[in-house]
Symmetry: D2
Subunit: 300 residues, 4 copies
Amino acid sequence: MSVPKNAPLRGIVAYPITPFQEDGRVDLTLLRQLVERMVKAGVHGIAPLGSTGVLPYLSDEEREAVTEATVQQVAGRLPTLVGVSSLTTERTIHHARFAERAGSTAIMVLPMSYWKLTEEEIVRHIDRVAAAVSLPIAIYNNPATGGLDLSPEVIARLLEIPNVSMVKESTGDVNRMHRLVQLCGEEVAFYNGSNPLALAAFVAGARGWCTAAPQLAPELNIGLYEAVMRQDLVGARALFHRQLPLLRFMTAHGLPRVIAAGLTLLGIPVGPLRAPLLPLGDAQVEELRRLLDGLGGLKG
Amino acid sequence: MSVPKNAPLRGIVAYPITPFQEDGRVDLTLLRQLVERMVKAGVHGIAPLGSTGVLPYLSDEEREAVTEATVQQVAGRLPTLVGVSSLTTERTIHHARFAERAGSTAIMVLPMSYWKLTEEEIVRHIDRVAAAVSLPIAIYNNPATGGLDLSPEVIARLLEIPNVSMVKESTGDVNRMHRLVQLCGEEVAFYNGSNPLALAAFVAGARGWCTAAPQLAPELNIGLYEAVMRQDLVGARALFHRQLPLLRFMTAHGLPRVIAAGLTLLGIPVGPLRAPLLPLGDAQVEELRRLLDGLGGLKG
Amino acid sequence: MSVPKNAPLRGIVAYPITPFQEDGRVDLTLLRQLVERMVKAGVHGIAPLGSTGVLPYLSDEEREAVTEATVQQVAGRLPTLVGVSSLTTERTIHHARFAERAGSTAIMVLPMSYWKLTEEEIVRHIDRVAAAVSLPIAIYNNPATGGLDLSPEVIARLLEIPNVSMVKESTGDVNRMHRLVQLCGEEVAFYNGSNPLALAAFVAGARGWCTAAPQLAPELNIGLYEAVMRQDLVGARALFHRQLPLLRFMTAHGLPRVIAAGLTLLGIPVGPLRAPLLPLGDAQVEELRRLLDGLGGLKG
Amino acid sequence: MSVPKNAPLRGIVAYPITPFQEDGRVDLTLLRQLVERMVKAGVHGIAPLGSTGVLPYLSDEEREAVTEATVQQVAGRLPTLVGVSSLTTERTIHHARFAERAGSTAIMVLPMSYWKLTEEEIVRHIDRVAAAVSLPIAIYNNPATGGLDLSPEVIARLLEIPNVSMVKESTGDVNRMHRLVQLCGEEVAFYNGSNPLALAAFVAGARGWCTAAPQLAPELNIGLYEAVMRQDLVGARALFHRQLPLLRFMTAHGLPRVIAAGLTLLGIPVGPLRAPLLPLGDAQVEELRRLLDGLGGLKG
């Protein structure tokens, strides 16, 4: 970690959902609108094909179409971070190369589990993917979805691979972030992926917040980042508490379900989720409506 | 559960690995040999495309080829139980229908997680798959690989679907099995998928033991089942303790890794695993050699 | 473990509650009646001052009075196993010596936690207690109450201390028992302390079942043990399923609460629990009444 | 929570160990010196008989002596927070009343578990203790030592008891703190008891940090608090990272063990720990020496 690495993301890294048409096909037109909307709202990066974008539920062809549509829509105005994770190394390399050719700024890799991978298998997997492209790579740690928990020590080892320069931590444990800084130094580029941890993570030194929330409350997300940047702790805490009920709701009920319902409530109808995922139930939609109404003053 | 259901498996249900050639392609010839070997050894069922068969690491085409090769090789001598799980409902239905056309006796579905599924999503998923075929269906609960934990209460609910007639429980907690019997009655057809729990599960009333072990020690596996069937508790316990070190080793190091190494030690060379999986390390291979040598008397 | 050790307990080891008078003092008269009742019912050992006997909620003087009353009431008809656990080594030794002087057959020690103890601290603690008495000692592993989880490997190490000859395992995981046999040999004297695991534990080779249940359903508890002893697996399973709802209820709601309520329902009024413990709520008492009614045929 | 409550602690609340003489008796003289040293160093409160003070390992008489010695030594210069927790309600009330008579500013109660307490039992327990004194009460949540985990919802319920005005949260999960603020409002007086969470907790709005660390590095502890108070986020983060290795070491190896060893390294010899606790091993003492040496510049 002695050489500064190319970590081209900071601030609010926005995760679009992958919308579907009524016939079940990916709705690329709506995807482009959602991306455009967040770029216009002032976010600092766009990350298609994350958990929010239901990456593992898409076919190879769908993934490629989403990558191209997003990169073209962003058109260089912001950095893009494209998810390329697959269970096998071969498919991950395939998608990493596709993202590179499509013009992505960086790629994100979640070491996924069916069989629990050994540390050696994780390192070898990332190493082979990294060798296949020259893009900067973000490692993604999310045991709740990926099924593997990368300790700070393993992450530090992965960061020794030349073009692995970023880490997205989604365990929701701020101690992991402090430990990572201890291991890798203050310059380590880590990003928070646990929405309710946004304030603590920025204070711990996170470069960015990877979040689907800008589809529903971009001003609050961006405002929190800016308050921390100017060391306005009191202001940051107030902004954080304002959006925390929404962030907790998103975490409790699943990002694709909540964002799809929230966009519909905000007047942007979104089609069905991909089965087996089902839409939010009626009572939850009402709770979400109340949460969004409570934030209204900032969005009007 | 009032009507007896068609649960066409019992005893030792053997799970072949999916072997690969040096060039990474599935080795269908060796797969047929492994299946034949276990049929000859006297197992009571064959289950391709389980966790042992690295189902989620295979392409759709590979899965179909494995299904056909296995069903043809067994050729009706034993029941077959083909794994058809996919993350999406659409792909699961596709593979369920393929297995039915290929002549499988029954299919197994693991509700898999990237996003944690709600109970409603799980029920709807299984319901739609069940409606698409007329084969008997086994539900598979394995939170360690699938990422979802189906409570006995949820399993009982799934067993109300007409052609869902079997459950494979792999949590390794015998209390789950007793609870399931409480909820569904003594006639519920449940199978144990946790190797070190084999004795306790049979005593709890399991109809069968779903296991990859018959690739390495079929006599011991079958012997345990037979001892329990004749209520020879002392004999069953002795047979169980004899194979327990091997069963624990398999669980600790992962079935595909251990079975591939073990077959090679037994004189049946197996090619590489599919990346990111790596072969057992040298020290572990030596430990496995000692374990297999210790069982030698029964296999000679 | 090469020399056979003195492990003077087998079968159903019955745990009396510690009853209290309305004024909060220990009701030694009722305690003696409860002990007598279980001896008459045919249990194989009596164990005062267990978790059921709310050991940690009693003063030193109360513990001594309970020890004396129980040993005197049993009067050598059965072996007694007196709980002597305390947080500090000094107090544990005090109570171990008291139990020895009072005529207890054996003592039980639960390494308790406020601060998590290191393996070295656990071994030293037991070693010092064992050196202070010449009675046979049972180690008690119960992370749910004691806060420490002794692995089979640590238990095996403790069993090397000369007069440590027995283990009570209450994790509810039958794999621990099989592992212990692997480590210590078939002769290791282990006892099951998790009520819903009674059948699996006996099949795994447990010498006894440490349980408060004989205060409510002694015939069923004893019958299960006898069925396993005569290798009547089908009969054992039927007896087990018959009592399982009661055993699960006891585990779910806490032994002192359930046994006190159950005795009252059976016509033996028991006074208050020691605060902060509260009696079972009304709805739970009704559920318990139904469970006990359902067992009626065997007890009338 | 509508009326502002009396929460008389803020900043660095320092927890002295309970030192022992070679003969095993409490060393009240050294205790007074340790208290005086921390008062002089500028901490904002003194809390005897916490986990650090090995409260549960002391006899009633020892607890009373420690309470008196500490309150007398502080002599009103700072607020005192005396731990009064016991397993039974009766003993907790006894010590609460003793602390009140001895002149303590406030008391702390940890609902402790042997049997897991129901929510009703916890509330009743705290309610009865609170009714027995007129001092302000801090609830202490520490599942790792106390064995019970109080959810933010239960804590909010306890805070409705009139003289329960403070909460010490030791789960190490900053999300609990944010949730508590959501439930109780910004004015809720919560304190952090997890050393590695010190920065995140202050940023979340914690009034104070309950810690044994001022026995080893008071300037760093106080400096962190002051930096957060003046919204110097960059300075706070630097101070935090400087002390984090020590804080993590304390958490990993247990406060009484580490503080006793650390004081001895700093030239203040401390006698034995109370068995079963053992002193830090030699290798750990060396690691602690290096950690303390690394902090030297600030303490010389």
